[in-house]
Every structure is written in structure tokens, then in C-alpha cells.
Amino acid sequence: MTTIAASRAVNVPEPDQARVRAPALQVAAVRKVYDQLEAIREVTLDVADGEFVSVLGPSGCGKSTLLMMIAGLVDITGGQIVINGTRVRGPRREVGVVFQSPVLLPWRTVMQNVMFPVELLRLPRAEYKARALDLLRMAKIDDFVDMLPRQLSGGMRQRAAICRALVHNPSILLMDEPFSALDAITRDEMAIELLRIWQAHRKTVLFVTHSIREAVLLSDRVLVMDRRPATIIEELTIEIPRPRHIAMTEDESFNRLVRHLRRAIETSHAG
């Protein structure tokens, strides 16, 4: 386990190398039908332990629905979702979710918001408070622990939300377009911050986005989802070395991957 993690830090694994390990998350032939309206047609995907996978797609393609189903917040119509060997039937302790908006409770300070999962899950407070502080420090908002959400900028609020999703030490982090409400500059900054936190904690991440650039910058692997039918049409392994930087987005290899993904989306729309 440690050797794999160590080798991963230096080198991005080959796709088949990732497959060898038991997947942390398995989505098998999952379908979702709302009142005869097909929201998702047969999605199958695996995410290996410690892998960062993005689901990329246009808005309305069902990628958020997929994430909510994995989080156990939305029922599935067919197929199955398995996390760490057990089937998902509802929300699970080993999952942390970051939503599109920060969803902080306005009457709680940053620290109280981050400690919210600890309260709900009845975990030992003192122990997790130290962990919360570590996370807040890593997210660079430890100077604002006693402030209320309305006193923070949008980026800082989303940082707090990420800390909240990680405080109870989940093994899987689900992120639903977490940076889409932020301005472009803050967005890039947050992506790099997220990578830094991810590098330190090595969670399995499933990241939903409609930004091709963001997907390439962050992920080990990108899955392209399309609407009508809502299914995965393309899979691409991103072999850019880690740690990654914003400067890499100007590299030719980076842009080749972005172009490849764009073409995949466009072709499917043309056809």
C-alpha cells in the first residue's frame, strides 16, 4: 500500500496498473429514470483507491445526478453502486461531499461549520477539533476560524466546505462542480489548493465538472459524459506528472489532452 502510494507520487500509474487494486468505488450499469424520463442510461465506472477521477460533461448530462446517487442521496433505478466492497443504500460515513455552493450554516462560525459532521456523527470532539484545525491550516483559512460565513469571500467559503467534507476522514471525496460559482482566477487557485490537500491526504476523489481544463489539470483519469443518452462516451488517462502547477496548462501536452477531450464531446454532438 505504502509502496504504491509512494510510486504514485512520483509517477502516474498506467491504467491497467490502477485496475489491479480493488476499486474503492464501483458503479455498475447504473440507470436512473425519473417519471419515465431517462436521466442516466447505463453508466459503468471504477475508481481505484487514491485515484482522482473527473466526470466531464455539459450541464444537464446527469453527471450531478450520478454523484448524488453515489453519495446515497438519490435512489438508483437499476444497476448497483459499491463503495469499499459494500453496496450503497444511503449516505455513508466514509463519503464526504462538496456541493456546488458551499452550503455553510450562516449561524455557525467557520470552525463550527467544519465541526458539523463531527457533531452529527457523534465523533470525539477534541480529537477531531485538532484535525479540523490542521485542515483549516492547510486550506489557509485558519485565521478565519471564528468568523461567520457572510464575512468570508466565495473562495474562502468553498475552502471551508472542503475542510468540512474531509473532517470526519472519509475515504472517498465526491465533488459536484465545487468551483463553478467562483471567478476564473480564484478557480485556478482553488484547483491547485485542492491538489495540495489531496496530495497530503490521498483520498479517492470523484470530481464532477464542465470545465475541460479543470478536469485535465486535476485528474488521473477523465471520463466524458454526454446527454441523450446520458452515458460515458470517452475515457482518457492524464499522464501529466504530479505535483501539477498552473503553468502546466500552457504546455503543449496539456493542450493536446484538452483538444482531444473537446473533440470527443464535439464529435458525439455532431453525430
Binding site: 453519495a71 449516505p91 455552493s101 452550503v103 450554516l105 449561524w107 459532521p117 452529527l120 461567520l148
Partner: protein
Amino acid sequence: MPANLSRHFTTAFWPTLFTVLGLVVWEVTVRTMGIRSIILPPPSEIFETMVARYDLLLDHLWPSLYLTVLGFLFAVVGGILVAIVITYSEVIRLGFYPVIVVSQVIPKIAIAPLFVVWFGTGTLSSLLLAFLISFFPMTINSAMGFQSVDEDIQRMARTFMGTRWQIFWKIRMPNALPYIFGGMKISITLAIIGVIVAEFVASQEGIGYLIKLAGGLLDTPLMMAAITVLSIAGLALYWLIAVAESRAIYWQPPAEAIGGGG
């Protein structure tokens, strides 16, 4: 603090000026036109009456105030409890809640004589009318507060497997607080109306009784003194709630505070 103080000063300055100006115009008009005080006493005479007969006014103010506050408190507690039931019981929400809302078309004041028939001319009628009239806005506002929790917040809490109990105390209750205070501000003024009307109809004491009595004696200065005392008391009660609100709902900037609620 000094900046805060000066801001309060400027917001209070113009309304105070206009009030004083209005009183001066009133005083001068009454005096120059020789309007008899039985029709419209000047402010100075009302003030003199308040000073001269303060013990009479206070004797009648206390029972009214006591019943107002008591009826209001029952309405607050009852309204919040009923709102909780409405929030958690689908049967009540779909069956009973619309009835409550539609029953709002009944002018509660019209029920006052009926209450006298049922509960006699004592304090019970006043108390019940104060309760009844202030109970509805309390219920409706609180129910709205408990139910208006942002969908994303509910989802977020579900991902951490929050129990109903946890979600009620940690999310629904604080979410409802601004609405509850909005309801309280409406209810306290209504509770006063309820008590006064009940005292008009049937009572041997209270400010409502005193106003009616003074009216019968054509003692207009006393009537207006009683009305003034009542207004001051009402304002004080409203102010107490507003202060409690700004303390309790510390997370809202003052400008955004929900004033009227629903």
C-alpha cells in the same frame, strides 16, 4: 462604538424632528383656532393629564399589560409547537394547515362578544382573545421558518447521516429564528389589540375599559392620555422583542433582518 452611536443619532434625528414639529403644529392649531379640548385637546393638556392622573392610568395599564404579555407568551409557545407539528406531520400539514390559513378571514375581533358569552366578563375572555388573535401569525411564521430550510443544507446534513432530532435542533430551529421573531413582532401588537377590544366589550378594569369609560364621560384628555400610555407600553414591548432579536440572530446583518416575517 462612536461610529455606531452617530449612525443611531442620524437615523433617529429626522423622525424625532418631524414628531416634534407635528406636535407643535397640533398645539398651535388647537390654540389659535380655539378648538375645544372635548373635541381635540392640545398635546400639552394630554401630557398634563398623564402627569396628574398617572396612578389611575397605571392602575389600569398593569392588568392590560399583564394579560397582553401572558396571551402573547401562550401564543408564542403554542404557535411554535403547532408549527413543529405542521412541519413533521403530513396529515396536519395537508389537512389542518389550510384550515388555519383560511380561518384568517374571520375578523377575530368580531368573536369578542361570543367570548363574553362563553367565558364571562372576567380576565379569561381578554386573555383568550389576546392569545387567539396573536396565535395565527406566530404559527404561520414559525411553520414557514421550520420548512424553508434550503434544500442543499438538508442534503448536506443527510450526507453526514443527521438524525431528525439533530436536524431539528441544529438546522430547522436556527433557520426558523428570524421568522419566529418576525412573528413575535406582529403578535405582540395584535395581542394588545385583543386585550383592548375584550376590555371594550366586557371588563371592569384595564386601559380598554378606561378609554371606554372616559369616552362615556366625554373626558377626551383622559382618553387620549390612556391611548398615549398604551402606545408607549406597546412600543416598549415591541422594542424589547427587537432587542432580543438582534441578540439572537447575530448572524444576520441588521439591514437584512426579517421585519414582518411572512
